[in-house]
């Protein structure tokens, strides 16, 4: 069972109270961008076995979107953080580096 703590209401919510929102920290390429960037933005997603950064919504709860860093292999959750950011906070990256030495995710390591 996946338990994720919502950073807005502090509830350790069980998976059925949440809704997954796909990969986190995508940079949008909209009108005017070149085809390669647009294709990458629209279709190319990470699918790691291990550390992953995702968006989640506390749908049956406070209703807020937030980010979660977790391991897709063990379901360990390294931390959650608010939605208004374009990259994971340093303390969460430090936690992951300590627990999963040598991890990589896109350009994070």
């Amino acid at each position: 069972m996946l338990l994720i703590t919502c950073p807005y209401c502090g509830v350790a919510a069980e998976e059925t109270e949440l809704h997954g929102g796909g990969e986190a920290h995508l940079k949008r390429f909209g009108p005017g961008s070149n085809d390669d960037d647009f294709t990458s933005y629209l279709f190319h997603r990470e699918n790691p076995k291990g550390v992953h950064f995702e968006r989640w919504r506390h749908v049956n709860g406070c209703g807020k979107w937030f980010h979660a860093a977790r391991c897709t292999n063990t379901l360990e959750v390294f931390g959650t953080y608010k939605a208004q950011t374009t990259e994971p906070p340093k303390d969460i990256l430090d936690t992951i580096r300590a627990k999963r030495p040598g991890f990589t995710w896109r350009d994070l390591a």
Partner: protein, 190 residues
Amino acid sequence: MSDVALALGGASFDGLVKIEELAGQGMVTLRGDLTDKAIVKAVKDVFGVALPDIRETAFSGSTGALWMSPDEALLLCSYDEAQAKADELAGKLADAHALVVNVSDARAVFQLKGSLLREVIAKLAPVDMSPDAFKPGMVRRTRMAQVAAAFWMDDASTARVVCFRSVGEYVFNLLSTAADTNASVGHYSS
């Protein structure tokens, strides 16, 4: 008050707990920064309660406030006063970044009475209902079986559950089934 306000016409069920559909619950939803001093003061002036902290409730007689999210509160009062209070609060918050709507008819409210109410709720919602984790004075927005619901405890043997009116019958049936006299688990009873 006319019966139009009730989703199930005041249905009740007596089992492990006594379940009653409550009449006359006015509900006003407030969206806005709950830490904004102007909003806190306006709510205090109109509803007589301070906005509660995260996942808590505040009551003063028949009025109250429930924490719904960092920018949402559900304000309670009697059904007849709800529209007037919503208008008054909206007037006071005309210059603030806030939204106030009377939603009394949008939801159904059930009262659960009995010492086994923790057990009844725990069967339906993914919430730790142990007395150490969920105490009177807290509110929890969650789901009950397949629909969104929220509940809070007024005291150790009284809880209120709110859900959307359109799923009122579903929630009443769920609660009644979970409170069937033959369905006792005894997990939280001492």
